[in-house]
Every structure is written in structure tokens, then in C-alpha cells.
């Protein structure tokens, strides 16, 4: 385990370095001058002023020095300054991070809550009507773009039936939860949940459809195994065989792709946040792209990469817990 962990963290640092170099080199090749972006709307500016600002921002340094400075800053937790807000990037991103994380976790829960029963039922009812209906639902779930599903949910649940708000943010779910635990006041939690539900479901559906298909196919395979037949033969109740024996093994491939799915959910969150006006890093970075605020874009890319890689490391460690056959050396 020890050497594996060290190698794995080494790999992670390698990837991060590569991402850092690629992003910072490429972003400096972009046509257009950041100084023009900063100075936009200041007509009285002279060429000397611009030159002074370029010196101050280090834009006249060789690209290697610039990338080195940026990397040095990163190590100290400094992501540079936003061109638009003229404030450090890190607090800007950190402020937008919790809503995205809450949305992603909630979507993941939704995905599991839909995928597990759907996958189990279709596997156990194989080649019967329930299986066909489930399969059709799964193909639909995979084929519908998340932003479109979001619009349709808004159309029905917000515009037509007025059950949930069409968009916006109801405050942090975790702090509302904490508030409920400490004071017993359910209000903020309800509000936060009402805003969370539509974007969460939207984001969760595509992943759940995909997972349901995987759970179904693995279950079908596992149910054919000798140990399942043996357990049934010795008179074990089906419920125990299905859940305790078969399902546990059907879960392994799902956990295997869990790490990749976090990436997928993050990608989805970038789109969904814009549909529902969710104040997370996805919406923020699309705005930053529009403002040509590249330090922000770069910061989002770096922070997301760190989160994504850390989760993947965790998932790798999780395999061991689920599948005792796997041992890392």
C-alpha cells in the first residue's frame, strides 16, 4: 500500500505539473493583450501607462519566467489576480466552489438512488416487460442532453406546475443542515433543498442511466455464477443472495468508473449551473471566458484538476474496501 500511494501521488503531481505548463503556456499564446482587457473603458490611457502595467504584471518577462512565477505562486496558494475584479483569484473561486460541490454530491446521490433499483429490477426481470421499459428509459436518459432535460424540468415543474423555483440558489445546503441540527429550524434547509432539487436531478439522470445499464449487465453476469446458484441451492432466501452476494459484486464496475463519473458530473455541472443560474465555478468560468479573464480560467482549471485527481486517488483506495481481491503493492 505504501509504495503504491507514493507512486500514485507522484503520478498526480506529474499530471498537475503537465496541466500547469500546458495551461499557462497556451493561455499566454492567446492573441490579444491582457492589458487591453484591463484598460477597456479607460480612454485616456497612454502607451507608457500600458507599458508600465505590463512590467508590473510581469507580461514582458520571458514565457519561462512567467510560468515559473505562476507555479511559484501556486505553491504559496496564490493564483494571481482577476483581470476583471482586480482581486486575487483564489478567494473568488473558493467562494464559488461550495455550491458546485454540493450540487455534484447531490447529483451523485440522485444517480445512485435511480440507478441501483433500476439496474437491479431490470436484471432480475430480464427479458420481461419491466426490463424493456427500463432499457428504453436508460437509452432515453443517456440520449437527452442535460441542459435540455433542465429546460424541460423547468418548463413543467417551475413554469406549468410551479412546484419548484425555476432557477437560483437557496443558500448552502450544508450550512442549512448545520443550522437545523443546532437550532431545530427547518426553514433554511427546506429553502436550500427546493432550489437544489431540479438542477440535482437534471445532473443525476444521465449518470444514473449509464450506471443502471452497467449494474444490469454485471448483475446478469453475476447471477449466472456458480456461487450464486450454490447459495440458492443451500436454501438461502433470494433477497440475501441478490443483495448480499450478487449485488455487492455488481457494484465493483460502478465504483471503478465512479472517478471518471466525477469528471463527467463536473463537466455537466458547468452546463447545468448556467441553465439554473447556480452560483458555482461552472457558471463563473463560463462568465470568465466571456470576460476574457484568463487568470480566473486558469485558476478554475487548476483547482478542478486538483479536486478531480484527489477524488480519483480516493476511488482507487476505495476499490480495496469493496473488492478484497484487489491488493495494491
Amino acid at each position: 500500500m505504501g509504495p503504491f500511494l507514493i507512486r500514485r501521488i507522484g503520478h498526480m503531481l506529474g499530471v498537475l505539473t503537465a496541466v500547469l505548463i500546458i495551461v499557462s503556456v497556451l493561455l499566454r499564446l492567446i492573441p490579444g493583450d491582457p492589458v487591453d482587457v484591463i484598460m477597456a473603458g479607460n480612454p485616456g490611457i497612454t502607451e507608457e501607462d500600458k507599458q508600465a502595467l505590463r512590467d508590473q504584471l510581469g507580461l514582458n518577462d520571458p514565457i519561462v519566467v512567467q510560468v515559473g512565477n505562476y507555479a511559484g505562486g501556486l505553491v504559496r496558494g496564490d493564483f494571481g489576480d482577476s483581470l476583471r475584479f482586480r482581486t486575487p483569484v483564489r478567494p473568488l473561486i473558493m467562494e464559488k466552489l461550495p455550491p458546485t460541490i454540493e450540487l455534484t454530491i447531490f447529483a451523485m446521490l440522485i444517480a445512485v438512488m435511480i440507478a441501483v433499483p433500476l439496474g437491479l429490477i431490470t436484471a432480475l426481470q430480464r427479458d420481461r416487460p419491466a426490463d424493456y421499459i427500463g432499457s428504453v428509459l436508460a437509452v432515453l436518459g443517456i440520449s437527452i442532453p442535460s441542459f435540455l432535460l433542465g429546460i424541460l424540468l423547468i418548463l413543467f415543474f417551475a413554469v406549468e406546475w410551479r412546484i419548484f423555483p425555476a432557477s437560483g440558489y437557496g443558500g448552502s445546503f450544508s450550512s442549512a443542515l448545520w443550522h437545523f441540527v443546532t437550532s431545530g429550524d427547518l426553514g433554511p434547509l427546506k429553502k436550500s433543498f427546493r432550489y437544489l432539487i431540479l438542477p440535482g436531478v437534471t445532473l443525476g439522470v444521465a449518470v444514473s442511466a449509464y450506471n443502471a445499464r452497467i449494474i444490469r449487465s454485471t448483475m446478469v453476469e453475476v447471477l449466472r455464477q456458480d456461487y450464486v446458484r450454490y447459495a440458492q441451492a443451500k436454501g438461502m432466501p433470494n433477497r440475501v443472495v441478490y443483495i448480499g452476494h450478487a449485488f455487492r459484486n455488481a457494484l465493483i464496475p460502478v465504483v471503478t468508473i465512479l472517478g471518471l463519473q466525477i469528471g463527467y458530473l463536473l463537466s455537466g455541472a458547468f452546463v447545468i449551473e448556467n441553465v439554473f443560474a447556480w452560483p458555482g465555478i461552472g457558471r463563473f468560468s463560463v462568465q470568465a471566458l466571456g470576460w476574457r479573464d484568463y487568470p480566473v480560467v486558469q485558476g478554475v482549471v487548476m483547482i478542478t484538476a486538483v479536486i478531480f485527481l484527489s477524488i480519483n486517488l480516493l476511488v482507487d483506495l476505495l476499490y480495496v474496501a469493496i473488492d478484497p481481491r484487489i491488493r495494491y503493492r
Partner: protein
């Protein structure tokens, strides 16, 4: 081998050989397709989309970009039987049906171009990596590892930041994201096949590398590539629509389903049709491609039927 022996083989016609003529696999595939509900549904939906893209100028009742005051928020024909606009008009008075027909062009062309590019580049890289091994293999696979460590959206953001929004940015972002799948697939197969006797034999008699890759290894992976490419095309169409919806993809005035939805979103109350119809177009096309891809996978590799 002398010419005489070759001639003696050629002169005795073997009927069984005719079955293996190059056309047979296609006929066989079509025959299987006709028997499958899944395959036929997929093929029908995909054909419909392709037909729309090819004949948009003939089928579309109006120009997709022309704005007419009378068409502004016009009801579709099933709500108002007097309406001149079958699927209604949008916020700027453009015919929704015409825009959907033309919009299929953007979706299908990006889906097709990206998959062809990713499959070609990925297969070549994977083939050489697997066949040559050594440094080439290490380089290609490290690149693949790196790419798989970064979520797609970050890649897209980098590309979009550099190239700005547009058709070719979407193309580059998606092609760069997808080539790795083909590289991994083809490399794996190449590693398996390259030391098989018939390949070793070919190498021994001096067949060059390119010919071995094309004549001996490609036929073994082409089915898997085809399945992957079909399913990828669905992914590409969804992501193009998503990026365009965000304003980062193909820019107006080119009619696209993604942009129609992004406009329609603002008028959900007044005119849900602006969103519903382009949405249906995307769903039907992607469902069709996914069904066709599933069917291809079932057909080419029955062991994967339950996946």
C-alpha cells in the same frame, strides 16, 4: 511458388469463395439489421436526420434566418390550423421547422467530422504505439494518461479560451478529448495481434509496417472502432449542443439546435415550442445513433450483448 500452381488454383472455381466477396459482409449486416427492432429504429431515426441535413434547402418552407413580423411567436399548426408555420415561429419571427431542418447540418457535420478525426488519429497513434513499442508507446500512452486525468470540460475551456468560440474550437476540443479512446483500443488489439504467427510470418517475408497495420491488424479492430465511433457521435452531438447552448460553440446566424434552445429558454412561458421542437430533434437524433451503436455492438460482439 510457381505460376503453374497459382493458375491451377485459380482455374477451379470454388463457390464458397464467392460468398466471401467484399460485398457480402454488408449484405449480411443489412439482413441482420432488418431483423432487429432496435437496429431498425436507430437506422430510421438516423436516416431521417441525414435526410433532413441533405435536403434542408428543398424541404424547408422558409429561410432559416429570415425574420418575418407575422411569424413572431406564431403558433404551431396543431394549435392554430390557420398557421402558415408548421412548428410555429420564434422570438425573431423565424420559422422553427426550417431552423430545425438546417440545424441538423451543424449537429451531424460536427458529429461526423469529430468522430472521423478522433478515430483516425487515435487509431494511427494506437497502432504505432502497440506495434513499435518502446519510446513511441511510452510517449503515446503517457499522453493518453495525462488526457484521461483531466475532465473534458477543462480541456474544452482551455481550447475555447485560446481559440475563442466557434465551429472549429468545438471540433478541436472534442477531437482532442476523444482520440484517446481509439488509441487505447487499437493499441491493445495491436499488442495482442502483433506476435501472432501470421503477422510474424508477414514480417519475416518483408512486408512493411504500414501494410501490416492496415492489412492484418486493422481488419481485426475495425468493428470495435465502428461501434465506439457510433456511440461517440452521440456524445459529440450532445456536447456541441451544450457548448453552443452556453454561447461557447457554433455562433449565430448559423442555425443550430443548441442555440435555438438557448433562445427558447427565455420564452418558456410565452412559447414553449421554441424549446420543445429543437429539443425533440436532438433527442430523436441521439436516441437513433445510440440505438444503432448498441445494435452494432450486439451484432459484432455478441458477448457484449448485455452491456
Amino acid at each position: 511458388m510457381t505460376d503453374a500452381t497459382v493458375a491451377s488454383i485459380d482455374t477451379s472455381p470454388v463457390p464458397a469463395l464467392r460468398l466471401a466477396s467484399p460485398q457480402a459482409p454488408w449484405k449480411d449486416l443489412l439482413r441482420k439489421l432488418r431483423k432487429s427492432v432496435k437496429g431498425m429504429t436507430g437506422a430510421a431515426l438516423v436516416s431521417l436526420a441525414i435526410l433532413a441535413a441533405l435536403t434542408a434547402p428543398l424541404l424547408a418552407p422558409y429561410s432559416p434566418t429570415k425574420q418575418t413580423v407575422r411569424a413572431k411567436f406564431a403558433d404551431p399548426i396543431f394549435k392554430d390550423s390557420e398557421s402558415d408555420y408548421i412548428l410555429g415561429g420564434d422570438n425573431l419571427g423565424r420559422d422553427i421547422l426550417s431552423r430545425i431542418l438546417y440545424g441538423s447540418r451543424a449537429s451531424l457535420s460536427i458529429g461526423f467530422l469529430v468522430t472521423v478525426a478522433a478515430a483516425t488519429v487515435g487509431s494511427i497513434a494506437g497502432g504505432f504505439a502497440g506495434y513499435r513499442g518502446g519510446l513511441v508507446d511510452t510517449l503515446v500512452m503517457r499522453l493518453v494518461d495525462l488526457q484521461l486525468s483531466i475532465p473534458f470540460i477543462l480541456l474544452a475551456m482551455i481550447v475555447l479560451a485560446i481559440m475563442g468560440p466557434g465551429f472549429w474550437s468545438v471540433f478541436v476540443a472534442l477531437a482532442v478529448a476523444l482520440w484517446v479512446n481509439y488509441a487505447r483500443l487499437v493499441r491493445g488489439e495491436t499488442l495482442r495481434i502483433r506476435d501472432m504467427e501470421y503477422v510474424v510470418a508477414a514480417r519475416t517475408i518483408g512486408v512493411d509496417e504500414r501494410r501490416i497495420l492496415i492489412k492484418h491488424i486493422l481488419p481485426n479492430v475495425i468493428h470495435s472502432i465502428l461501434v465506439l465511433a457510433t456511440l461517440d457521435m452521440a456524445f459529440v452531438i450532445i456536447f456541441e449542443a451544450s457548448l453552443t447552448f452556453l454561447g461557447l460553440g457554433i455562433q449565430p446566424p448559423t442555425p443550430t439546435w443548441g442555440f435555438m434552445l438557448s433562445e427558447g429558454r427565455n420564452y418558456l412561458q410565452e412559447s414553449p415550442w421554441m424549446s420543445v421542437f429543437p429539443g425533440l430533434a436532438i433527442i430523436l437524433t441521439v436516441v437513433g445513433i445510440n440505438l444503432l451503436g448498441d445494435w452494432l455492438r450486439d451484432t459484432f460482439d455478441p458477448s457484449l450483448r448485455n452491456r
